[in-house]
């Protein structure tokens, strides 16, 4: 987005993230504690209340990919014995660690003082931190989020989580920082989260407009950035989302579509719902395959991995630990297949989509296993056209541009053909 006009929110976001990495780089000198944790099911507010800095290995991995470094990192991990078959996020992170742990801004990322294995819905996270544990000599604390197998959160699940937070996570943070758990501080953070969440949902819902003022997948990953990482529960996030909301509302008022890496998008021709994470190694190229054809993504599930807010959940300052548990268990990755189908079908309707497209990534069993069934079910329930492409998160070897483009084009032409209903017979 270098030669394209940037909106103020974009600049602000860049600045926020830059500042975070600066803080991280200075953490050891400043005596600040660093905690590694994951995006889905993160306890950012709790961490903030202890004044520790979070590092999200997935974010490092995806940033590495966008900077075209992931290939080297992955091959480094494969060199030390990791299989070609497994999740490339893990390999990218391990490889980055082995290559000096330099962050996206070129500054070093400090070693963790604690590994907070608070994760949601993916077994690979467990392995990931087992692997990191071997790399670093630091304590690990695990928060196990039970899966919503039957599409609900039972009292037993909630109790289990609260008990873990209370008897394991909090004591570990207390021990690390030497300060006592401050519930009031946590409540304040949760209140700030709630405010930002309101505005973010407003932005995501704006895609119901025609044309949609946002791209809820490619653009969406930028919008969720602050919310899913180090900024939830801060004033900065509240300001960012307020600003973003304003910009989006202004675009709606002007009847404008989303901003793409190549500037404002042309006329909106196709409205899609996308399931699955994006590819990061060819992010712009990938986006362009859609934007050039006039396809805009009006809703995606990937923007819900770090929390599902659009069905009403908000962090609740009145029940601090309970709300953290609910948040973790509610993340998209912790939802059962039937719930995911439900969600996609509701998006298709709510956002008047022309099609549902699955981007299946080789890395991620958690997302991918069952996506074909999801696709069929959503097609069946909504009657809109389904499409399927395969790429990977951060392994460029699995992004075959020609192949992906071919499928996307065929898919969009299919929607077009379906819509126009032109046929031999009709014309004859």
């Amino acid at each position: 987005m270098d030669n394209v006009d940037k909106e103020p929110s974009m600049l602000k976001q860049k600045e926020m993230i830059g500042a975070h990495f600066d803080r991280l780089a200075e953490a050891p000198a400043q005596g600040k504690k660093v905690v590694y944790t994951f995006v889905p099911g993160n306890l950012t507010e709790l961490l903030l209340s202890f004044d520790v800095l979070p590092v999200y290995p997935e974010i490092n991995a995806l940033q590495s990919a966008m900077r075209k470094r992931s290939g080297d990192f992955i091959s480094e991990a494969e060199r030390i014995g990791h299989s070609e078959d497994v999740c490339t996020y893990v390999k990218c992170d391990i490889g980055m660690k082995r290559s000096g742990n330099i962050g996206p801004t070129g500054k070093p990322i400090p070693k963790p003082d604690l590994l907070l294995l608070s994760y949601t819905g993916c077994f690979t996270f467990l392995k990931w931190f087992e692997l990191l544990r071997e790399e670093y000599d630091c304590p690990v604390v695990l928060l196990h989020t039970p899966y919503q197998a039957d599409g609900e959160i039972t009292p037993s699940m909630r109790e289990y989580m609260v008990r873990q937070i209370r008897s394991e996570v909090i004591p570990a943070l207390e021990k690390l920082t030497g300060r006592a758990y401050d519930e009031d501080r946590l409540r304040e953070c949760l209140e700030l989260s709630r405010q930002a969440e309101d505005d973010m949902v407003h932005v995501l819902e704006s895609a119901q407009n025609r044309p949609s003022p946002i791209d809820a997948y490619f653009g969406g990953v930028f919008y969720i950035g602050p919310m899913f990482t180090a900024f939830r529960g801060t004033k900065a996030a509240v300001d960012y989302y307020a600003m973003l909301k304003q910009e989006v509302d202004a675009r709606i008022a002007r009847g404008e579509g989303p901003i793409t890496p190549d500037g404002p998008m042309g006329p909106e021709k196709y409205r899609l719902v996308v399931e699955g994470p994006p590819n990061w190694t060819h992010f712009r190229e990938f986006w362009r395959m859609f934007s050039e054809e006039g396809a805009v993504v009006v809703a995606s599930t990937y923007t819900k991995v770090g929390g599902v807010f659009d069905f009403g959940f908000r962090h609740d300052p009145n029940d601090p630990l309970g709300t953290l548990a609910d948040y973790c268990m509610g993340c998209y990755t912790n939802r059962s297949l039937p719930q995911r189908v439900e969600m996609l079908a509701s998006y298709a309707k709510k956002f008047s989509a022309d099609g549902i497209l699955v981007n299946s990534v080789k890395s991620c069993n958690s997302f991918s296993a069952g996506q074909l069934v999801i696709l069929r079910e959503v097609e069946k329930r909504t009657g809109i056209a389904g499409g399927f492409i395969e790429t990977d998160l951060v392994d460029a070897r699995y992004f075959s541009a020609a192949n992906v483009k071919n499928r996307i084009e065929s898919y969009l032409q299919m929607i077009e053909q379906k819509r126009s209903g032109k046929t031999e017979e009709v014309r004859a």
């Binding site: 091959s75 494969e78 060199r79 030390i80 014995g81 070609e84 070897r397 075959s400």
Partner: protein, 284 residues
């Protein structure tokens, strides 16, 4: 004097070697001599038929007859050799053969028709580690062979042509078959033969380097064996790729590299022969 014959039955070629060694020279087979080698591509012929032809060929080259041979050792698809005395597994044989050809060898890069493998070994040719390509044929000799066929050059020309390339064109696909399409596209975009071949070599070399990189190598030479050792373009690219991957071992090849497996198994045959009981010797 013990005369042993090693036969390496591969998927694209059959290789044979006859070794003369002294009784009592143990595992090291100090003073062993290579008497003759013989190689034939299978090329759509019946394997058993080729095996026989190769055996006859190597005997003729050595000026020996079947009854002179004390032990026939096989490697590769050894089951097909019904006159074998014993069998040794591929990497054991290649490591041994490589050490014979080049005593400084500490790692072998065996690139054959369908597989590539990197083997690290100690000074005694004991295999200490290895990596292989997976169940996918991309980046193997067969792949190169197909491409050569497409491009209308013979295998013998491939190496020299590739060295002429100055702006190698990257092959993107992982799949050998899809890479063919890449190559077709290149031709139609007017990329020169040398640059295409060099691009392929570089991509293969990169894969090979990754295999080697996963081994923990001591000093010493990396010897390329197998059919593709003849391909100087690949050897050249492999050298560069290893350097790029931060491996400073010297990469060498030997005119008899292709027969390394056969030579190795013949040497092992000598060792085992001495350990056979007298009556098995009779039978052998």
């Amino acid at each position: 004097m013990i005369l042993t014959c090693g036969i390496d039955v591969g998927s694209s070629a059959v290789k044979a070697a006859i070794i003369k060694s002294h009784p009592g020279s143990g595992r090291a087979r100090e003073g062993a001599e290579l008497v003759a080698t013989h190689v034939e591509r299978i090329r759509r012929r019946d394997q058993r038929h080729v095996i026989r032809a190769v055996y006859d060929g190597v005997l003729e080259a050595a000026g020996l007859t079947e009854s002179d041979i004390h032990y026939v050792a096989t490697t590769g698809e050894g089951e097909l050799v019904d006159f074998r005395t014993g069998h040794f597994y591929g990497m054991t044989a290649h490591a041994r053969g490589a050490l014979f050809l080049e005593p400084q060898t500490r790692a072998v890069l065996d690139v054959g028709a369908l597989h590539a493998r990197a083997i690290s070994m100690d000074a005694d040719s004991k295999v200490v580690g290895y990596r292989m390509t997976s169940q996918c044929a991309s980046g193997s000799g067969q792949f190169l062979e197909n491409i050569a066929r497409y491009l209308g050059v013979t295998l013998e020309e491939v190496g020299a042509l590739s060295l002429e390339g100055d702006r190698p064109e990257k092959v993107s696909g992982i799949c050998a078959v899809l890479a063919e399409t890449d190559v077709i596209n290149m031709v139609s975009r007017g990329i020169s033969l040398p640059n295409i071949l060099r691009g392929i070599h570089e991509s293969m070399a990169n894969r090979l380097a990754k295999l080697v990189r996963k081994l923990e190598l001591d000093d010493g030479i990396v010897l390329v064996t197998g059919g593709l050792a003849n391909d100087i373009g690949l050897v050249h690219a492999t050298r560069a790729a290893l350097v790029e991957h931060g491996i400073d071992s010297r990469v060498e090849t030997h005119p008899l590299s292709v027969a390394a497996g056969a030579i190795g198994s013949a040497l092992w045959g000598g060792y085992r022969y001495e350990r056979l009981s007298p009556d098995t010797k009779q039978a052998a």
